[in-house]
Symmetry: C2
Subunit: 345 residues, 2 copies
């Protein structure tokens, strides 16, 4: 079995740490693992399979001999180093939004559109966390019954904004419980002008605003879903909201299918057999997905499936997954595993 | 100006406490204020306009001479005592769900359907908290442009489940931050079998489940909205979710209007002139409603107004209000004020 030299760019971040843990048991035979980050983190130690690895600086020459490079250090770092990595022969699997909508770059959720991997030019984009879990749930429904429309409202975790945002949530929460003013310096978006406390709050802004009044997070969900599902015609609208949850995104989905006379039970049956999906749906035993049970799991959990009161082709459901796992690190690793399985790397 | 004898039933609860504070400055000339609760709370002291009042037990004879009785001690207490209060000559303004869908009982949001008060039989129902803020935002839009459909996902605060649930959120939050297991004994619903932690979680269940897979909270939003707006034909679906917020409900609304060629600006203009509504909507300055700014305010805040990407008659918006204030105590007081203004009491 072929062994691979693997690099993680951004290993000290929230997704980098998750990549380390998940690679320990992945179906990838690892020869060497190179852990890279910014100059600031150079020399730090990280653990992999009980062994200490020393973080090196991300440079153009750092990719010599690398077969697979996971990038999760922000779009600017991907743009700066992807060419050097690809030229060195590596397959770049990028967790940032830098190339997701690039026409030549496959945007892949392995359960949904693995065939797109065949057209790669040594760069694969990993979709946005909130998109991944949604398309994982939508695809089996589309395949069975058709799909014409989606309206989604998200309940997104703070870890999606990085480890510093998580610290901020923790510090703000302690401040509020102590009767003090919470201090906000990161959320809703580190790159925006104003910052609001997330502790005991709900913020209807993730990423910056585009001029049309939608946020870029909302546009990511809408555009990436169309690309991944190969459905430029799909009607889809998103409202993205940050809530005081550490890890795990929840989504309230309304969708309209094309086929008539489909029951909620038929939808449940399809979901229960879909790859990567766990159906948790039994109101009689209060069984439904929650982030407290989905965190650190690789699957996407679906529940509260019910038919719309007015539209017989409309259905509501509740979709939960760990945004750092299936939403980021695990999906990236699955891309690598799938490419190995398909003989593409 | 006429002076009124007023009673609060359930004065030691979350809504009762809010009623006390808001009555201090309400447009109701109060002669005597009687503070009532269960036998357990008898003898406790509460403050009203700087004066100590002693809590008495709610009994059938406690309503002698009362003109206006605010009930917020649970549906069972309303069912037990409303008749005695009405027979004693009081107007009962009930915060519970006991009579909301009763055909003979007006269900009123004063900005939306004040005329319904004329048909009262000395019992007025105050709608569900999540319903009130939604219809307050929907009514001016319906009046200007027509309204055919609503899909709502809620982000509801813990105080809606009472003071003990708030304590539970606080204790669970401290436990999680200390690395301990959070203990859950109340939420999602005190009357249900299983309990889940709300700290750093999102629970897609409020109230019990009905057999069709919707919760009763969701049915309240759907049925009460139709009744208040006088629109049994309105298409409306709700997904109700509890999040770790202390007070203040947020709602992600999708709605379809009837008129064509309406812009988001036109909707904003109508909302900015609507009674009880404050428009907070300027993405360029990150201005949108949040519970941290809406808490303890009487108004309903609306922002993130934008046209649907696919449906020119579809619009999305974000609606926030304090569930204990406009969602409960303040709306009840407004009902009393409106009845005084209309000469009905």
């Amino acid at each position: 079995m072929k062994k691979y030299n693997v690099a993680i760019v951004g290993v000290t971040g929230a997704v980098g740490e998750k990549l380390l843990r998940l690679l320990e048991n992945a179906a990838i035979e690892i020869n060497e693992l190179h852990v890279l980050a910014s100059a600031r983190s150079k020399g730090k130690k990280v653990l992999f399979r009980g062994e200490e690895l020393t973080v090196a600086e991300t440079t153009e020459s750092a990719f010599a001999g690398i077969d697979i490079a996971f990038f999760s250090a922000g779009g600017a770092i991907t743009k700066k180093f992807h060419r050097a990595a690809r030229n060195a022969g590596a397959i770049v699997i990028d967790n940032t939004s830098a190339f997701r909508m690039d026409a030549e770059t496959p945007l892949v959720v392995p359960e949904v559109n693995p065939e797109a991997l065949r057209n790669h030019t040594r760069l694969i984009a990993n979709p946005n966390c909130s998109t991944i879990q949604m398309v994982a749930a939508l695809k089996p429904i589309e395949a069975a019954f058709g799909l014409s429309r989606v309206i989604v409202s998200t309940y997104q975790a703070v870890s999606g904004a990085g480890l510093h945002a998580l610290e901020e949530l923790e510090n703000q929460t302690k401040a509020v419980l102590a009767g003090e003013e919470p201090i906000a310096t990161i959320l809703p978006s580190g790159g925006d002008k104003k910052h609001y406390p997330i502790a005991f709050n709900a913020i209807p802004q993730i990423d910056l605003f585009s001029e049309d009044g939608y946020t870029f997070e909302e546009w990511k969900m809408m555009n990436e879903t169309k690309k991944i599902m190969g459905r430029p015609d799909l009607k889809i609208a998103a409202t993205c909201v940050r809530i005081p949850v550490m890890s795990g995104h929840s989504e309230s989905l309304y969708l309209e299918i094309e086929q008539e006379d489909v029951t909620a039970d038929a939808i449940r049956k399809v979901l229960s057999q879909a790859p990567g999906i766990v159906l948790q749906d039994d109101p009689s035993t209060q069984t439904y997905p929650m982030v407290t049970t989905a965190v650190n799991q690789k699957e996407t959990y679906v529940g509260r499936v019910r038919r719309d009161v007015d539209n017989p082709k409309g259905f509501h459901m509740w979709v939960v997954s760990d945004n750092l796992t299936k939403g980021a690190a695990w999906n990236s690793i699955q891309i690598a595993e799938k490419m190995i399985e398909m003989g593409l790397v």
